[in-house]
Symmetry: C2
Subunit: 123 residues, 2 copies
């Protein structure tokens, strides 16, 4: 992961429409959703949605597959793993004890029903 790729991911997620698309597709894993249904769910004009889907696909955040007349989109969660790794690269310059939060970030994010985050005090 290089800076340019990470920037593209953050640019994707910094629009309300695109963040909505990504969250919707994360929920819809591993099946995915076709473009028209995304447009309906988020109430976005088709041409506008198409613009956003293209941006996200180019950034690698979505994978797309043709199904007849439909295009089915799916979230690429693995890319988020890389992005977080990129952010925490070389963190704390090896100072012992300085990495408490980074450790939390790297090992403490439960998801998908196994458990849940939101633990912010440093105790």
């Amino acid at each position: 992961m290089d800076e340019k790729a990470a920037l593209a991911v953050f640019e994707c997620l910094s629009s309300g429409v695109r963040l909505g698309v990504f969250r919707l597709l994360v929920k819809a894993e591993p099946v995915g959703i076709v473009a028209g249904d995304i447009a309906a769910a988020l109430d976005v004009a088709p041409s506008s949605l198409s613009f956003h889907l293209r941006t996200m696909t180019q950034a690698g955040l979505l994978r797309v597959e043709q199904e007849g007349r439909f295009l089915r989109y799916r979230a690429n969660l693995a890319l988020m793993t890389e992005v977080v790794g990129f952010l925490t690269e070389n963190c704390c310059s090896g100072v012992s004890g300085g990495c408490r939060d980074a450790d939390l970030l790297s090992g403490g994010i439960p998801a998908c029903g196994s458990s849940n985050p939101v633990r912010e005090s440093k105790a």
Copy 2:
């Protein structure tokens, strides 16, 4: 973490300057860096940097502390934990096996040479 807060974080990291600031400050944890040194390290005009630092501080991504004439900035890595949690919320609709990537994201990110997994209860 609500959508607005998450958007603010992604907006912060979607500018080259701000991403550079955050990565620099992640590396500089837990000491932090004063504004002038950030400007020098990244070769950004002071007024421009000030604009970005304010955006990031408002988003909660940075904490700032006055030291005489200087302002020392530090990264808030814990906020990233919340953001990743927000992204993977309700992922895969509980489909078994659908969460492979989200689990990877939540538990498989190496950082800082040590790992200290912390799994909490669901909310």
